[in-house]
Symmetry: C2
Subunit: 120 residues, 2 copies
DNA sequence: CCATCGTATCATCATGCACTGATATATTAT
DNA sequence: ATAATATATCAGTGCATGATGATACGATGG
């Protein structure tokens, strides 16, 4: 996939918006959900099983991902089928893994910030 | 740049690590710093001028980016020259802009989470 | 040596996030 | 209708983060 800078027709200083996207990806639970969804659409219950998250927690993260346009929801009766909205999101995830594969050590030892408050 | 999934030789469930990388990118101040650095290496003072951040704040974010391997530091006398460590990081930024260019509306209206605590 | 400049660190504080448990809503089944 | 299932929402809590101002460190210059 070609990624040229000129394609980004975004206001040059809209860092708040970009930050929001990255913060949407910056949570292990949401990454777990997205990883599970890469193998195809899943219902909330299946996501709960796949990720080990509690149902309200998963539902909340899904709402977050949905609001941000990272996933798509399709209602089937009383089930809700979620899927990744944009292939480029998956590409971002791959690219991140690509970077981490060579500089994971640095990120690993980065003690400057950690995961946010988790009771678990 | 080719981004294949097989290249990502990362532990499949290391979402905490991935999340850390994205959280590193998930802050407007740090994105501003990275954006400034895309035009070439800068000293801390130049970064302060370019971003409008306070000096301690910029220094702290730079330490964060440095620890995480996203930027590189080179000492020149009493100056510190920072530069982007990995071109693929810039690619991630471009790709994110690419995604946002088409689904920015969703992210914009995402009220589920906001920027972290800023007094300003 | 002392002052100055550039950078890094410290102490402190406030806000927002991610989690839990309980409950509400909605849809199908008996 | 009633129950059961699937999902969404609400109230409340702890913790990490990002900010500030003061200060320490380190290097150059007079």
């Amino acid at each position: 996939m070609a990624v040229s800078r000129s394609l980004a027709t975004l206001h040059p200083a809209n860092h708040a918006l970009r930050a929001k996207l990255f913060r949407g990806l910056g949570d292990p639970s949401r990454l777990g959900i997205l990883a599970a969804l890469r193998d195809g659409p899943l219902t909330v219950g299946e996501i709960v099983d796949a990720t080990g998250l509690s149902q309200p927690n998963a539902s909340n993260h899904l709402a977050c991902l949905l609001d941000c346009g990272l996933v798509r929801r399709e209602r089937h009766g009383r089930f809700a089928s979620y899927s990744i909205a944009d292939d480029r999101v998956a590409t971002i995830l791959d690219l991140a893994d690509n970077v981490l594969a060579t500089s994971a050590s640095g990120v690993l030892t980065c003690s400057r910030y950690a995961e946010p408050g988790r009771t678990t």
